[in-house]
Protein backbone atom coordinates (compact mmCIF):
# COMPACT_ATOMS: atom_id res chain seq x y z
CA UNK A 1 0.00 0.00 0.00
CA UNK A 2 2.74 2.43 0.86
CA UNK A 3 5.25 2.98 -1.84
CA UNK A 4 6.85 6.03 -3.30
CA UNK A 5 6.38 6.14 -7.05
CA UNK A 6 9.32 7.08 -9.23
CA UNK A 7 11.07 8.64 -6.33
CA UNK A 8 14.36 9.20 -8.03
CA UNK A 9 13.35 12.37 -9.84
CA UNK A 10 11.96 14.17 -6.85
CA UNK A 11 14.75 16.50 -5.90
CA UNK A 12 17.66 17.02 -8.22
CA UNK A 13 18.01 15.29 -11.56
CA UNK A 14 20.83 15.50 -14.04
CA UNK A 15 18.63 17.64 -16.26
CA UNK A 16 17.84 20.22 -13.65
CA UNK A 17 21.39 20.19 -12.36
CA UNK A 18 22.58 21.15 -15.81
CA UNK A 19 19.79 23.70 -16.03
CA UNK A 20 20.81 25.10 -12.67
CA UNK A 21 24.47 25.33 -13.61
CA UNK A 22 23.59 26.99 -16.89
CA UNK A 23 21.40 29.43 -14.98
CA UNK A 24 24.17 30.36 -12.56
CA UNK A 25 26.71 30.83 -15.36
CA UNK A 26 24.22 32.80 -17.42
CA UNK A 27 23.42 35.06 -14.49
CA UNK A 28 27.11 35.79 -13.97
CA UNK A 29 27.50 36.71 -17.62
CA UNK A 30 24.30 38.72 -17.49
CA UNK A 31 25.63 40.70 -14.53
CA UNK A 32 28.83 41.37 -16.39
CA UNK A 33 27.04 42.41 -19.56
CA UNK A 34 24.36 44.39 -17.84
CA UNK A 35 26.46 46.24 -15.31
CA UNK A 36 29.86 46.52 -16.95
CA UNK A 37 30.05 45.80 -20.65
CA UNK A 38 26.93 47.48 -21.96
CA UNK A 39 27.14 51.25 -22.39
CA UNK A 40 25.20 53.95 -20.62
CA UNK A 41 22.15 55.27 -22.35
CA UNK A 42 22.40 58.79 -23.72
CA UNK A 43 19.17 59.86 -22.11
CA UNK A 44 18.69 57.50 -19.18
CA UNK A 45 22.31 57.12 -18.14
CA UNK A 46 23.01 54.17 -15.85
CA UNK A 47 19.34 53.79 -15.12
CA UNK A 48 18.98 51.86 -18.36
CA UNK A 49 20.69 48.96 -16.59
CA UNK A 50 17.58 48.53 -14.50
CA UNK A 51 15.68 47.59 -17.63
CA UNK A 52 17.81 44.46 -18.01
CA UNK A 53 16.00 43.18 -14.93
CA UNK A 54 12.74 45.02 -15.27
CA UNK A 55 11.78 43.95 -18.77
CA UNK A 56 12.72 40.25 -18.43
CA UNK A 57 10.90 40.10 -15.07
CA UNK A 58 7.62 41.34 -16.43
CA UNK A 59 7.99 38.97 -19.38
CA UNK A 60 8.50 36.07 -16.98
CA UNK A 61 5.64 37.18 -14.77
CA UNK A 62 3.26 37.22 -17.72
CA UNK A 63 4.63 33.97 -19.11
CA UNK A 64 4.22 32.31 -15.72
CA UNK A 65 0.64 33.55 -15.40
CA UNK A 66 -0.09 32.24 -18.89
CA UNK A 67 1.30 28.90 -17.77
CA UNK A 68 -0.87 29.03 -14.65
CA UNK A 69 -3.96 29.79 -16.68
CA UNK A 70 -3.24 27.12 -19.30
CA UNK A 71 -2.57 24.48 -16.64
CA UNK A 72 -5.72 25.49 -14.80
CA UNK A 73 -7.86 25.12 -17.90
CA UNK A 74 -6.31 21.71 -18.54
CA UNK A 75 -6.96 20.82 -14.92
CA UNK A 76 -10.62 21.76 -15.21
CA UNK A 77 -11.27 19.88 -18.43
CA UNK A 78 -8.98 16.91 -17.95
CA UNK A 79 -8.89 16.20 -14.23
CA UNK A 80 -11.55 13.52 -14.47
CA UNK A 81 -9.87 11.56 -17.21
CA UNK A 82 -6.31 11.69 -15.90
CA UNK A 83 -4.94 8.99 -13.65
CA UNK A 84 -3.51 11.53 -11.22
CA UNK A 85 -6.78 13.48 -11.06
CA UNK A 86 -5.17 16.46 -12.74
CA UNK A 87 -2.71 16.99 -9.89
CA UNK A 88 0.10 17.51 -12.38
CA UNK A 89 -1.64 20.54 -13.85
CA UNK A 90 -2.56 21.80 -10.43
CA UNK A 91 1.04 21.65 -9.24
CA UNK A 92 2.26 23.33 -12.39
CA UNK A 93 -0.29 26.12 -11.97
CA UNK A 94 0.69 26.63 -8.36
CA UNK A 95 4.43 26.71 -8.89
CA UNK A 96 4.21 28.95 -11.95
CA UNK A 97 1.98 31.41 -10.11
CA UNK A 98 4.39 31.63 -7.22
CA UNK A 99 7.35 32.31 -9.48
CA UNK A 100 5.19 34.76 -11.43
CA UNK A 101 4.36 36.67 -8.26
CA UNK A 102 8.04 36.75 -7.36
CA UNK A 103 8.97 38.29 -10.68
CA UNK A 104 5.99 40.63 -10.71
CA UNK A 105 7.29 41.92 -7.39
CA UNK A 106 10.76 42.36 -8.87
CA UNK A 107 9.21 44.19 -11.82
CA UNK A 108 7.50 46.60 -9.47
CA UNK A 109 10.58 47.30 -7.38
CA UNK A 110 12.93 47.76 -10.33
CA UNK A 111 10.28 49.79 -12.14
CA UNK A 112 9.86 52.12 -9.20
CA UNK A 113 13.61 52.59 -8.81
CA UNK A 114 13.91 53.23 -12.53
CA UNK A 115 11.07 55.73 -12.30
CA UNK A 116 12.73 57.51 -9.38
CA UNK A 117 15.78 58.15 -11.52
CA UNK A 118 14.09 58.78 -14.85
CA UNK A 119 10.80 60.42 -13.92
CA UNK A 120 11.94 61.76 -10.59
CA UNK A 121 9.22 59.88 -8.73
CA UNK A 122 8.78 56.32 -7.51
CA UNK A 123 5.28 55.99 -8.70
CA UNK A 124 3.41 57.25 -11.70
CA UNK A 125 -0.19 56.29 -12.26
CA UNK A 126 0.89 54.93 -15.52
CA UNK A 127 -1.05 52.19 -17.25
CA UNK A 128 1.51 49.45 -17.10
CA UNK A 129 2.61 50.03 -13.53
CA UNK A 130 -1.00 50.09 -12.40
CA UNK A 131 -1.84 46.95 -14.34
CA UNK A 132 1.21 45.23 -12.89
CA UNK A 133 0.36 46.13 -9.33
CA UNK A 134 -3.19 44.85 -9.80
CA UNK A 135 -1.83 41.68 -11.33
CA UNK A 136 0.57 41.29 -8.43
CA UNK A 137 -2.20 41.61 -5.84
CA UNK A 138 -4.53 39.34 -7.82
CA UNK A 139 -2.01 36.54 -7.83
CA UNK A 140 -1.11 37.14 -4.20
CA UNK A 141 -4.78 36.43 -3.61
CA UNK A 142 -4.48 33.32 -5.73
CA UNK A 143 -1.61 32.10 -3.57
CA UNK A 144 -3.61 32.90 -0.44
CA UNK A 145 -6.47 30.80 -1.82
CA UNK A 146 -4.08 27.95 -2.51
CA UNK A 147 -2.75 28.04 1.02
CA UNK A 148 -6.18 27.44 2.55
CA UNK A 149 -6.43 24.04 4.12
CA UNK A 150 -8.73 21.98 1.94
CA UNK A 151 -9.05 18.68 0.22
CA UNK A 152 -6.54 18.71 -2.67
CA UNK A 153 -9.23 18.28 -5.29
CA UNK A 154 -11.39 21.03 -3.83
CA UNK A 155 -8.42 23.33 -3.58
CA UNK A 156 -7.39 22.45 -7.10
CA UNK A 157 -10.78 23.28 -8.55
CA UNK A 158 -11.14 26.46 -6.61
CA UNK A 159 -7.72 27.76 -7.53
CA UNK A 160 -8.13 26.69 -11.15
CA UNK A 161 -11.30 28.72 -11.47
CA UNK A 162 -9.62 31.66 -9.81
CA UNK A 163 -6.63 31.41 -12.13
CA UNK A 164 -8.96 31.31 -15.09
CA UNK A 165 -10.87 34.41 -14.01
CA UNK A 166 -7.71 36.26 -13.10
CA UNK A 167 -6.27 35.55 -16.49
CA UNK A 168 -9.37 36.55 -18.39
CA UNK A 169 -9.27 39.69 -16.35
CA UNK A 170 -5.74 40.65 -17.40
CA UNK A 171 -6.71 42.15 -20.77
CA UNK A 172 -9.74 43.82 -19.20
CA UNK A 173 -7.61 45.41 -16.51
CA UNK A 174 -4.94 46.31 -18.99
CA UNK A 175 -7.33 47.85 -21.45
CA UNK A 176 -9.23 49.90 -18.93
CA UNK A 177 -6.17 51.12 -17.10
CA UNK A 178 -4.37 51.82 -20.34
CA UNK A 179 -7.29 53.81 -21.53
CA UNK A 180 -7.36 55.67 -18.27
CA UNK A 181 -3.74 56.80 -18.45
CA UNK A 182 -0.84 56.27 -20.74
CA UNK A 183 2.48 57.71 -19.88
CA UNK A 184 4.87 54.80 -19.99
CA UNK A 185 7.78 54.41 -22.33
CA UNK A 186 6.59 52.27 -25.21
CA UNK A 187 7.35 48.56 -25.11
CA UNK A 188 11.09 48.07 -25.18
CA UNK A 189 11.25 44.73 -26.87
CA UNK A 190 8.66 44.01 -29.44
CA UNK A 191 8.44 41.91 -32.50
CA UNK A 192 8.16 43.65 -35.83
CA UNK A 193 8.85 47.08 -34.52
CA UNK A 194 12.09 48.97 -34.48
CA UNK A 195 13.31 48.66 -30.92
CA UNK A 196 13.94 51.93 -29.20
CA UNK A 197 16.81 50.39 -27.35
CA UNK A 198 19.41 49.51 -29.92
CA UNK A 199 22.82 47.94 -30.40
CA UNK A 200 24.60 46.48 -27.43
CA UNK A 201 21.82 47.49 -25.11
CA UNK A 202 19.33 45.62 -27.25
CA UNK A 203 21.43 42.47 -27.26
CA UNK A 204 22.03 42.72 -23.54
CA UNK A 205 18.31 42.99 -22.96
CA UNK A 206 17.63 40.04 -25.20
CA UNK A 207 20.28 38.00 -23.42
CA UNK A 208 18.96 38.97 -19.98
CA UNK A 209 15.50 37.88 -21.02
CA UNK A 210 16.86 34.50 -21.99
CA UNK A 211 18.78 34.20 -18.73
CA UNK A 212 15.86 35.14 -16.54
CA UNK A 213 13.73 32.64 -18.46
CA UNK A 214 16.23 29.89 -17.63
CA UNK A 215 16.34 30.92 -13.98
CA UNK A 216 12.54 31.02 -13.78
CA UNK A 217 12.19 27.61 -15.43
CA UNK A 218 14.60 26.16 -12.93
CA UNK A 219 12.64 27.72 -10.08
CA UNK A 220 9.32 26.45 -11.43
CA UNK A 221 10.63 22.91 -11.87
CA UNK A 222 11.96 22.83 -8.33
CA UNK A 223 8.90 24.44 -6.83
CA UNK A 224 6.82 21.86 -8.65
CA UNK A 225 8.86 19.10 -7.12
CA UNK A 226 8.47 20.53 -3.66
CA UNK A 227 4.70 20.60 -4.08
CA UNK A 228 4.86 17.05 -5.37
CA UNK A 229 6.94 15.98 -2.39
CA UNK A 230 4.53 17.64 0.01
CA UNK A 231 1.64 15.84 -1.60
CA UNK A 232 3.58 12.62 -1.54
CA UNK A 233 4.30 13.06 2.14
CA UNK A 234 0.63 13.68 2.89
CA UNK A 235 -0.34 10.77 0.71
CA UNK A 236 2.16 8.53 2.48
CA UNK A 237 0.83 9.53 5.86
CA UNK A 238 -2.72 8.96 4.69
CA UNK A 239 -1.96 5.58 3.19
CA UNK A 240 -0.22 4.53 6.38
CA UNK A 241 -3.23 5.68 8.33
CA UNK A 242 -5.60 3.78 6.06
CA UNK A 243 -3.46 0.68 6.25
CA UNK A 244 -3.33 0.80 10.02
CA UNK A 245 -7.06 1.39 10.24
CA UNK A 246 -7.72 -1.49 7.89
CA UNK A 247 -5.54 -3.73 10.03
CA UNK A 248 -6.52 -2.74 13.51
CA UNK A 249 -9.88 -4.46 13.71
CA UNK A 250 -9.04 -7.62 11.82
CA UNK A 251 -8.93 -9.76 14.91
CA UNK A 252 -12.21 -8.50 16.23
CA UNK A 253 -14.08 -8.91 13.01
Amino acid sequence: MSQIPDSKHMTATLGTRILGSVAVAAVLLMTLLGLVVSPEDLVQGHAVRMLYLHVPSIWIAYAAFVLTAASSVLFLIRSRSRADGGRHHDRLAGSAAEVGVLFAGITLVTGMLWGRVTWGTYWQWDARLTTTVLLFVTYLGYLALRRLPADPIVRGRRSAVMALISFVNVPIVHFSVDWWRTLHQKASLSVGRRPEITGEMYWTLLYSTLTVTVVASWLIVHRYRVIRLEELRDEEALNALIASRLREDDVGN
Binding site: V137, A144, R157, R158, W180
Partner: protein, 222 residues
Protein backbone atom coordinates in the same frame (compact mmCIF):
# COMPACT_ATOMS: atom_id res chain seq x y z
CA UNK B 1 -34.01 26.90 -15.27
CA UNK B 2 -35.50 30.38 -15.07
CA UNK B 3 -37.89 29.02 -12.50
CA UNK B 4 -34.98 27.82 -10.35
CA UNK B 5 -33.11 31.09 -10.73
CA UNK B 6 -36.15 33.00 -9.53
CA UNK B 7 -36.68 30.57 -6.67
CA UNK B 8 -33.19 31.15 -5.34
CA UNK B 9 -33.35 34.90 -5.80
CA UNK B 10 -36.77 35.14 -4.19
CA UNK B 11 -35.55 33.15 -1.22
CA UNK B 12 -32.58 35.49 -0.74
CA UNK B 13 -34.76 38.55 -1.02
CA UNK B 14 -37.22 37.11 1.46
CA UNK B 15 -34.36 36.56 3.87
CA UNK B 16 -33.42 40.20 3.37
CA UNK B 17 -37.03 41.23 3.83
CA UNK B 18 -37.16 39.41 7.16
CA UNK B 19 -33.72 40.39 8.42
CA UNK B 20 -33.39 43.87 6.86
CA UNK B 21 -29.62 43.71 6.91
CA UNK B 22 -29.14 45.61 3.65
CA UNK B 23 -31.52 48.41 4.42
CA UNK B 24 -31.02 48.51 8.14
CA UNK B 25 -27.27 48.06 8.44
CA UNK B 26 -25.31 48.07 5.22
CA UNK B 27 -26.94 51.12 3.65
CA UNK B 28 -26.48 53.35 6.73
CA UNK B 29 -22.90 52.14 6.97
CA UNK B 30 -22.25 53.08 3.35
CA UNK B 31 -23.80 56.49 3.97
CA UNK B 32 -21.40 56.87 6.85
CA UNK B 33 -18.56 56.16 4.44
CA UNK B 34 -19.74 59.09 2.34
CA UNK B 35 -19.47 61.31 5.39
CA UNK B 36 -16.01 59.98 6.16
CA UNK B 37 -14.88 60.82 2.63
CA UNK B 38 -15.82 64.42 3.34
CA UNK B 39 -13.49 64.32 6.35
CA UNK B 40 -10.71 62.91 4.18
CA UNK B 41 -11.16 65.69 1.62
CA UNK B 42 -11.53 68.33 4.29
CA UNK B 43 -15.08 68.96 3.11
CA UNK B 44 -13.69 70.59 -0.01
CA UNK B 45 -16.84 70.90 -2.10
CA UNK B 46 -14.96 71.16 -5.37
CA UNK B 47 -12.90 68.01 -4.77
CA UNK B 48 -15.92 66.11 -3.54
CA UNK B 49 -17.89 67.16 -6.60
CA UNK B 50 -15.10 66.03 -8.90
CA UNK B 51 -14.64 62.75 -7.10
CA UNK B 52 -18.31 62.04 -6.47
CA UNK B 53 -18.53 59.35 -9.16
CA UNK B 54 -15.58 57.45 -7.77
CA UNK B 55 -16.61 57.86 -4.17
CA UNK B 56 -20.04 56.47 -5.00
CA UNK B 57 -18.49 53.31 -6.42
CA UNK B 58 -16.05 52.93 -3.55
CA UNK B 59 -18.97 53.08 -1.14
CA UNK B 60 -20.84 50.53 -3.26
CA UNK B 61 -17.80 48.28 -3.24
CA UNK B 62 -17.52 48.53 0.51
CA UNK B 63 -21.18 47.89 1.24
CA UNK B 64 -21.50 45.36 -1.57
CA UNK B 65 -18.66 43.26 -0.23
CA UNK B 66 -20.50 43.02 3.07
CA UNK B 67 -23.64 41.99 1.20
CA UNK B 68 -21.79 39.24 -0.65
CA UNK B 69 -20.38 37.99 2.62
CA UNK B 70 -23.83 37.99 4.10
CA UNK B 71 -25.33 36.23 1.07
CA UNK B 72 -22.98 33.31 1.60
CA UNK B 73 -22.96 33.30 5.38
CA UNK B 74 -26.66 32.59 5.35
CA UNK B 75 -25.95 29.54 3.20
CA UNK B 76 -23.07 28.21 5.27
CA UNK B 77 -24.27 29.08 8.79
CA UNK B 78 -26.62 26.15 9.06
CA UNK B 79 -25.25 23.90 6.32
CA UNK B 80 -27.64 25.07 3.63
CA UNK B 81 -25.14 24.37 0.88
CA UNK B 82 -25.56 20.70 1.65
CA UNK B 83 -29.26 21.14 1.01
CA UNK B 84 -28.44 22.73 -2.35
CA UNK B 85 -26.00 19.98 -3.23
CA UNK B 86 -28.70 17.43 -2.48
CA UNK B 87 -31.35 19.29 -4.45
CA UNK B 88 -32.14 19.25 -8.15
CA UNK B 89 -31.22 22.91 -8.55
CA UNK B 90 -28.31 23.09 -10.94
CA UNK B 91 -25.16 25.02 -10.20
CA UNK B 92 -25.75 27.56 -13.02
CA UNK B 93 -29.21 28.30 -11.67
CA UNK B 94 -27.84 28.73 -8.20
CA UNK B 95 -25.16 31.07 -9.52
CA UNK B 96 -27.63 33.18 -11.46
CA UNK B 97 -30.16 33.16 -8.66
CA UNK B 98 -27.65 34.27 -6.06
CA UNK B 99 -26.39 36.92 -8.47
CA UNK B 100 -29.91 38.20 -9.05
CA UNK B 101 -30.54 38.36 -5.32
CA UNK B 102 -27.29 40.23 -4.72
CA UNK B 103 -28.02 42.51 -7.67
CA UNK B 104 -31.34 43.62 -6.26
CA UNK B 105 -29.83 44.23 -2.84
CA UNK B 106 -26.98 46.26 -4.30
CA UNK B 107 -29.56 48.27 -6.25
CA UNK B 108 -31.31 48.96 -2.95
CA UNK B 109 -27.99 50.06 -1.51
CA UNK B 110 -27.41 52.35 -4.48
CA UNK B 111 -30.87 53.84 -4.14
CA UNK B 112 -29.79 55.02 -0.72
CA UNK B 113 -26.25 55.98 -1.72
CA UNK B 114 -27.19 57.82 -4.92
CA UNK B 115 -29.28 60.53 -3.28
CA UNK B 116 -26.68 60.63 -0.50
CA UNK B 117 -23.93 61.45 -2.98
CA UNK B 118 -26.13 63.92 -4.83
CA UNK B 119 -27.03 65.81 -1.67
CA UNK B 120 -23.80 65.63 0.30
CA UNK B 121 -21.45 66.31 -2.59
CA UNK B 122 -23.70 68.72 -4.44
CA UNK B 123 -23.81 66.84 -7.70
CA UNK B 124 -25.88 67.83 -10.72
CA UNK B 125 -26.81 65.15 -13.17
CA UNK B 126 -26.34 66.05 -16.83
CA UNK B 127 -27.10 62.73 -18.40
CA UNK B 128 -29.65 60.60 -16.59
CA UNK B 129 -29.71 57.92 -19.21
CA UNK B 130 -25.96 57.36 -19.05
CA UNK B 131 -26.09 57.41 -15.25
CA UNK B 132 -28.70 54.67 -15.13
CA UNK B 133 -27.05 52.57 -17.81
CA UNK B 134 -23.68 52.80 -16.06
CA UNK B 135 -25.23 52.00 -12.71
CA UNK B 136 -26.97 48.99 -14.20
CA UNK B 137 -23.85 47.69 -15.93
CA UNK B 138 -21.62 48.25 -12.92
CA UNK B 139 -24.08 46.62 -10.56
CA UNK B 140 -24.51 43.54 -12.74
CA UNK B 141 -20.73 43.21 -13.04
CA UNK B 142 -20.32 43.65 -9.31
CA UNK B 143 -22.99 41.06 -8.51
CA UNK B 144 -21.71 38.29 -10.75
CA UNK B 145 -18.08 38.81 -9.72
CA UNK B 146 -19.10 38.99 -6.11
CA UNK B 147 -21.07 35.75 -6.21
CA UNK B 148 -18.27 33.99 -8.05
CA UNK B 149 -15.71 34.98 -5.43
CA UNK B 150 -18.20 34.73 -2.60
CA UNK B 151 -18.68 31.02 -3.14
CA UNK B 152 -14.92 30.52 -3.25
CA UNK B 153 -14.50 32.12 0.13
CA UNK B 154 -17.75 30.66 1.53
CA UNK B 155 -17.45 28.60 4.65
CA UNK B 156 -13.74 29.22 4.95
CA UNK B 157 -12.65 30.32 8.38
CA UNK B 158 -10.74 33.33 7.02
CA UNK B 159 -13.50 34.38 4.60
CA UNK B 160 -13.94 37.85 6.02
CA UNK B 161 -10.41 38.81 5.09
CA UNK B 162 -10.04 36.62 2.03
CA UNK B 163 -13.10 37.82 0.12
CA UNK B 164 -12.05 41.49 -0.23
CA UNK B 165 -8.51 40.47 -1.17
CA UNK B 166 -9.82 38.31 -3.99
CA UNK B 167 -12.66 40.56 -5.03
CA UNK B 168 -11.16 44.03 -5.22
CA UNK B 169 -8.42 43.43 -7.82
CA UNK B 170 -10.97 41.82 -10.10
CA UNK B 171 -13.40 44.64 -9.59
CA UNK B 172 -10.78 47.33 -10.19
CA UNK B 173 -11.82 47.80 -13.84
CA UNK B 174 -15.47 48.09 -12.78
CA UNK B 175 -14.51 50.69 -10.22
CA UNK B 176 -12.50 52.58 -12.79
CA UNK B 177 -15.14 52.38 -15.50
CA UNK B 178 -17.99 53.18 -13.14
CA UNK B 179 -16.21 56.22 -11.77
CA UNK B 180 -15.40 57.60 -15.21
CA UNK B 181 -18.86 56.96 -16.58
CA UNK B 182 -20.46 58.67 -13.58
CA UNK B 183 -18.17 61.63 -13.92
CA UNK B 184 -19.31 62.04 -17.49
CA UNK B 185 -22.90 61.73 -16.38
CA UNK B 186 -22.27 64.38 -13.70
CA UNK B 187 -20.76 66.64 -16.33
CA UNK B 188 -17.38 66.96 -14.62
CA UNK B 189 -15.49 65.04 -17.29
CA UNK B 190 -15.91 65.37 -21.00
CA UNK B 191 -15.09 61.85 -21.87
CA UNK B 192 -16.75 58.90 -23.50
CA UNK B 193 -18.90 57.82 -20.61
CA UNK B 194 -20.78 55.42 -22.82
CA UNK B 195 -17.63 53.55 -23.71
CA UNK B 196 -16.89 53.08 -20.02
CA UNK B 197 -20.42 51.86 -19.50
CA UNK B 198 -20.00 49.32 -22.27
CA UNK B 199 -16.71 48.15 -20.74
CA UNK B 200 -18.72 47.25 -17.66
CA UNK B 201 -21.29 45.38 -19.75
CA UNK B 202 -18.46 43.36 -21.27
CA UNK B 203 -17.02 42.58 -17.84
CA UNK B 204 -20.46 41.53 -16.64
CA UNK B 205 -20.96 39.27 -19.65
CA UNK B 206 -17.55 37.62 -19.32
CA UNK B 207 -17.96 36.88 -15.64
CA UNK B 208 -21.50 35.63 -16.10
CA UNK B 209 -20.22 33.17 -18.67
CA UNK B 210 -17.41 32.02 -16.40
CA UNK B 211 -19.77 31.71 -13.46
CA UNK B 212 -22.31 29.63 -15.36
CA UNK B 213 -19.51 27.41 -16.64
CA UNK B 214 -17.57 26.89 -13.43
CA UNK B 215 -19.97 27.26 -10.51
CA UNK B 216 -20.49 23.52 -10.41
CA UNK B 217 -16.77 22.98 -9.81
CA UNK B 218 -16.85 25.38 -6.91
CA UNK B 219 -19.91 23.97 -5.23
CA UNK B 220 -18.89 20.35 -5.02
CA UNK B 221 -16.76 19.35 -2.10
CA UNK B 222 -14.35 16.53 -2.74
Amino acid sequence: MLHEVLLVARKDLRVEWRSKVTIGQVAPLALLVLVVFAFAFDANARLLGLGAGGLFWVAVLFGGTLLIQRAFDLETDDGNFDAFRMSTIGAPSLFLGKSLGVFIQVVLLELVLGPGVALLYDVRIDDWFLLLAAALAGTVAFSVCGVLWGVMAAGVRVRATLLPLLLIPVLAPVLLAGSRAFETAFGVRAEAGWTWASVMFVIAAVHTAIGVGTFGFLLEEG
